[in-house]
């Protein structure tokens, strides 16, 4: 487990600076299995990302994971949670930002901050139907253009709807 003392200190330091800088945005901080997750509000996402990249030197957005909590969410809870896996390398510090998103809410695109978010967001749109405002070219990336529906949603059947060709 890479949660050596130095990592923990740097992560806690980063999180403290983060919550100091954005008191309204940081909703909760959870540490589990050596990984730190910061729950953020939707509005401040890009500001936090830019702050992390420019000031704290988190130079890599490793992955954007989208969770469909159709069945697990409490009544009226947000349909999707979008996780931004951010890391600072080579110092090997890793942080996860979680943002709750409703069914047809629009998130700000992270492309202006991290170039590698381009395709990850297109995949999130293709698989879940999440729209990203400010994305240079938001199109389907895996499925053919004329495909309706978003496959990775929990209510989409595994075998697909129209049975292929």
């Amino acid at each position: 487990m890479p949660d050596a003392a130095s990592d923990r200190f740097e992560i806690r330091q980063a999180v403290d600076q983060l919550s100091a800088r954005f008191p309204g945005e940081v909703l909760a901080v959870a540490v589990e299995k050596g990984e730190t997750a910061v729950h953020l509000g939707k509005k401040g996402l890009i500001l936090v990302l830019r702050f992390l990249k420019e000031e704290l030197g988190f130079n890599a957005l490793e992955d954007i994971v989208v969770l469909d909590n159709l069945r697990t969410a409490a009544e009226g809870g947000p349909r999707f949670t979008v996780l931004y896996q951010v890391g600072r390398f080579p110092a090997a510090v890793r942080l996860r930002l979680a943002v709750a998103v409703g069914e047809d809410e629009i998130l700000d695109s992270a492309v202006p901050v991290y170039r590698s978010a381009d395709w990850a967001e297109r995949e999130a749109y293709d698989m879940f139907g999440l729209r990203f405002d400010g994305h240079p070219d938001l199109r389907r990336i895996y499925m053919p253009e004329d495909f309706e529906g978003h496959p990775l949603r929990k209510d989409f059947p595994l075998q697909g709807r129209d049975g292929g060709v």
């Binding site: 496959p151 595994l158 292929g164 060709v165």
Partner: protein, 167 residues
């Protein structure tokens, strides 16, 4: 030849032998690979298993010059029209070999985007099972295809174009 020659017109039988001998011994596969099976197909053409011995090592990149379409890998719904167009571009005496469980029947992927078997879009002559099939398995499939070609009667097609390609 398994058929008795009395029924078969003598001259045509000899012509059949000659044509099928040529077609059997110079099957040029089409250099198209889709997924994991493509790597095993290349390993089959590489030094250790070497299908060049059968004269098959000329992987033609253009469908116009290929006789054998080895569908090596998963055919997705997005790729299916491309496979169908490539098959139509191949000149006529052509054969198809479905390599691997994905090409035979969707393999381990019963999902929304995978075509459950390539024989839904192109007529397949030989199925080689395996995920991926070992090079020996593929060579066995190619040899069965050669036997199948040896039994076919190309002259019957030339003389009577309506005759379906007899198996």
């Amino acid at each position: 030849m398994t058929e008795d020659l009395s029924k078969q017109p003598f001259l045509l039988a000899r012509a059949d032998d000659l044509i099928t001998w040529a077609q059997k011994n110079s099957l040029w596969p089409f250099g198209s690979g889709l997924a994991c099976c493509a790597i095993e197909m290349i390993a089959t053409a590489a030094a250790r298993f070497d299908i060049a011995r059968f004269g098959m090592e000329l992987f033609r990149a253009s469908p116009r010059q290929a006789d054998l379409f080895i569908v090596a890998g998963t055919v997705t719904n997005k790729m299916a029209p491309v496979i169908r167009r490539l098959w139509d571009q191949m000149p006529d005496p052509k054969w198809a070999l479905a390599m691997g469980n994905c090409a035979i029947g969707g393999g381990p992927f019963p999902t929304y985007s995978v075509l459950q078997g390539v024989d839904k879009i192109i007529p397949v002559d030989v199925y080689v099972a395996g995920c991926p099939p070992t090079p020996q398995g593929l060579i066995h499939g190619l040899m069965t295809l050669q036997e199948k070609i040896a039994r076919s009667h190309p002259t019957k097609e030339i003389l009577d174009p309506h005759a379906r390609r007899s198996l």
